[in-house]
Subunit: 254 residues, 2 copies
């Protein structure tokens, strides 16, 4: 099995290294990832400029490919032929923060897995629900092991056409996990606020600031599962039709 590993934090991120080292136990691994951070960059197809791909070496000596494109570009480049061998699975991550609720359309981690599905290859996004306050480097070992477990399940069972998996892992030891839960996308609560400042020349500029987002801890959702100590596995699709709204709207006098 040939697995493409990518991410949205850039090819030097510790979460990618942990994922690569673990996925190698499941098959042959090729890395093609962005050369910089693309967090919350969305689902990108770069068409107004050409993309570069360069050979780099990960911290453990693994050869890898880095591009100046987005996470979804990395996947497109690999599937369109920059990587010569057939790819059986795309795994994106490990993101150092959870991707739940409305995060999924912003998230470079998740949109890389969307791009895999558009390229007709199964895609898995893996994110870690790390503590808000932390000291020192994050421990990605549980999330990496979970990623491999999910990847092996996907390779064995197959995913329905057009479906990707959004996997979120609690910040626990492997034996502390309550289990795996198939969930629905929950509700994110963003707490963004405008942070207006003046530059040294007195001209205004704006940060999209505010506090870290929270979520609604509803049972059966991604966030609810995480908070209860479960790995959350949310199957996502690219059909966004709001079917429940259609009948009502047909009654409008168009």
């Amino acid at each position: 099995m040939h697995i493409l590993v990518t991410n949205d934090d850039g090819v030097t991120a510790p979460g990618l290294l942990a994922l690569v080292q673990e996925m190698r136990k499941a098959g042959q691994v090729t890395v093609l990832a962005p050369d910089r951070n693309w967090s919350a960059s969305g689902h990108v197809k770069t068409m107004d400029r050409p993309l570069r791909v360069k050979e780099v070496i990960l911290a453990d000596g693994t050869p890898a490919l880095a591009t100046d494109g987005a996470p979804s570009d990395s996947v497109a480049l690999a599937l369109l032929g920059v990587v010569k061998e057939k790819i059986d699975l795309v795994v994106s991550g490990i993101n150092p923060n959870e991707n739940i609720g409305h995060d999924v359309t912003y998230s470079g981690t998740v949109t890389a897995a969307m791009e895999a599905v558009i390229g007709c290859v199964p895609g898995i996004a893996v994110s870690l629900h790390s503590p808000e306050e932390r000291r020192g480097p994050l421990d990605y070992s549980t999330a990496a092991e979970v990623a491999r477990h999910v990847a092996e399940k996907v390779l064995a069972e197959g995913l329905p056409e057009g479906v990707l998996l959004n996997v979120n892992v609690p910040y626990l030891k492997m034996d502390e996990l309550k289990g795996f839960m198939v969930t629905r996308q929950g509700l994110r609560v963003y707490r963004d606020a405008l942070d207006a400042r003046k530059d040294p020349r007195g001209k205004p500029y704006y940060w999209i600031g505010g506090e870290a987002p929270t979520g609604i801890e509803e049972e059966g959702t991604d966030y609810g599962a995480l908070k209860a100590g479960y790995v959350s596995i949310t199957p996502l699709q690219l059909d966004l039709t709001a079917r429940d709204a259609m009948d009502g709207m047909r009654k409008w006098k168009w």
Copy 2:
């Protein structure tokens, strides 16, 4: 009624000007749009750099605001307070090409409307199904009139919570339109191909190239409606859960 107009082609785009001129018939209009093209840029929240907002003048003398952020950033900035007056509706466009099927997660036009919904304001994305081969400037007059009509319906009827509208307009005169059709998201057929080239120094670079995408002309879908001469109105939601896949996946031996 106070309407925010934005787009993904940049504040100088003819499609934005046509939309602004028409929306002024429905209410007070404020323009806050990107200062450059962000096509296929996805749903962005810029957090790693601050954003600038500058005052500009549209080609007809209308004062407007331009930012170095993405389309979705434009909406976030406006709703978070760069625009002081309460905003009742966000209309994004007019995109010179249709946004159908899988385009919706890539499209800056559509993701601007997504951001409106996240900010609890109704959002409408408007795109023109322009002919592949064309000479001279596009005629946005029908799409602009349709946009105003849809905006007035939305202001009168209200949209269900969490729903945005993806509106695609055939390239026809107003009296040639067959009518309005509430549709589901259809299937895009991408025909991307890698276009590998060498720079003047012999080093490789890659365009994501290939032919223009097509779509599957299925009845009841966005693309099917367009091809039959109808305005396509697709209600979209930000819950991407693939509900049909959940039961099957729960039977996997996790």
